[in-house]
Symmetry: C2
Amino acid sequence: MDPLLDLPQLRTFFTLAQTGSFTACARRLHRTQSAVSHAMAKLEDLAGTPLLDRRGRELGLTEEGRRLYQACEHVFATLDAAAEDLRRHQTQAKGRLRVGATVEFGSSILMKHMQPFQAANPDLEMDFTLSQDLLAPLLRDDLDLIIDCQEHPLPTLKKSPLFREIYVVACAPAFRKAHRLRVPADLSRGPVLSLDKAGAWWNRFLMAVPDDEQPHFDRIIAVNHIRAMIHAASEGMGALLVPRYSVLEELRRGDLVPLFPAIRPTEDRFSIYQKKVKAAHEKQRLLTRYLQSLSPEEFGS
Amino acid sequence: MDPLLDLPQLRTFFTLAQTGSFTACARRLHRTQSAVSHAMAKLEDLAGTPLLDRRGRELGLTEEGRRLYQACEHVFATLDAAAEDLRRHQTQAKGRLRVGATVEFGSSILMKHMQPFQAANPDLEMDFTLSQDLLAPLLRDDLDLIIDCQEHPLPTLKKSPLFREIYVVACAPAFRKAHRLRVPADLSRGPVLSLDKAGAWWNRFLMAVPDDEQPHFDRIIAVNHIRAMIHAASEGMGALLVPRYSVLEELRRGDLVPLFPAIRPTEDRFSIYQKKVKAAHEKQRLLTRYLQSLSPEEFGS
DNA sequence: GTTAATCATGAATATCATTCATAACCATGG
DNA sequence: CCATGGTTATGAATGATATTCATGATTAAC
């Protein structure tokens, strides 16, 4: 009936009015500036009258905009209250929850974020199994819930997308300088670290490099453990290719610097898998929700 | 931030609670029952608790559902008020508006629906040009706004989708009986009406018929005017292929009956085109909005 | 039982929002 | 005046999500 009820747009408008800038609003909502611009164009078109007062630098609201803003305040207040109300009625989780995850992800990101959840559910006994082989234990009920980047399209499983695993090429700053790394082909000049001797680990990256810029790896240092590889790279032993989330700290501190940001290796998607029959259990639902509430950048995406 | 703000879903929930039935709710919102079901499943999953009380036939709300319903009442009330407020500030259209449309559509559907708009804007002088050639007059500013089923992908034009033109095959009830029309191939038995002698008019239909059921047209009666064709068909002269909107009346009265509803000829899309610079004018905007507010079934879709 | 109505489900599709890449704009400082 | 850095706008391509289609499952009524 009412075509103004396009609500993601109103949320955008609301935040935009608060921040006073498209760019800031975009950041706040984890969108791009372009998305905000499009959304507002559409909203104004729908409303049939300008809502924003774009006078150069500063951004204001028109008369109509201001009234709409007030309606928004009202609406979002009740909505948030309702959401809060629903949340309140979630009983606290009890019992035991056996979580499985891939080794690298589990040991870094997952562990770094479980504290608040644990604190909120003190009566929940959790234990974690980090391993490559997660599906089998899940199916035979040795695990309740797994976090995996492999696809498991079984009809008995419920899949909840979590985040996308972005890969980066990086090395120590000194290493970059010493080997003058500017384009992918320059990687031929120095050693690269790889999970396997043959260097197949790097295929994900090589596939994203144009044919005429392909490096040729002469010296491959094999290290069958990602964390070990990271330490090696931090010391300047070579360049490495790893999931972004595993080196968030190193990048922030400057121990490692990203190489060739223009090249985008194929991404993997991490999802939560759980048996459908058990997915409704309070404890499983709560953890799923908690993990999904974490913002993308916490996972390095 | 708040993932409960998925509002099309809330609107669905709200109507569902009011109608008390998935099917009825679907009808009200011009969706399928399936869509409603999916939406509610998602909403409950999001809320984390059942909101609907599905006890067999009758449908009730759970405690949480009821509270959410109240929030909805509140929210939609303010929202509707805000929308109303925006609408109120639309000045009434004045001046002159020259509308172009395709012949069949313009003479039937369009004319049948312009009265309310005209009444709401008594000071607006409108005139209508029905023709095949609409783009040229629009570009040279002989028309302000056209309604056409051809694609005009020009960057200076603004396109607003209106409805999809569905084609039906139909004939008089007596004709169907006389020629025992059950499957497409049976069309070979009787005359068919076509806009052109060669029968190319029917390609749209033939392309949707499996190869082994293709009819062969022996007797084609060419009539270069759709309305004339319809009258001929109503009298039992032959089967015809026409846009559904053009025979809404005849179908309702039973003068014509639809044939082979399983076969779906390719659809065309009607859109409004207007010059971007002029699309903002009050009179053009109002008409666009008015036409878009008409529900699909008014156009036979 | 059998039927007719209702709701659920999964896969395919269509629709819409978001991004990417880039243009246009505006203020400020050479 | 023309650069420059910081904005917002725009169009095409993409990706995510809602919707449909086709069908199964459940219930109520006869």
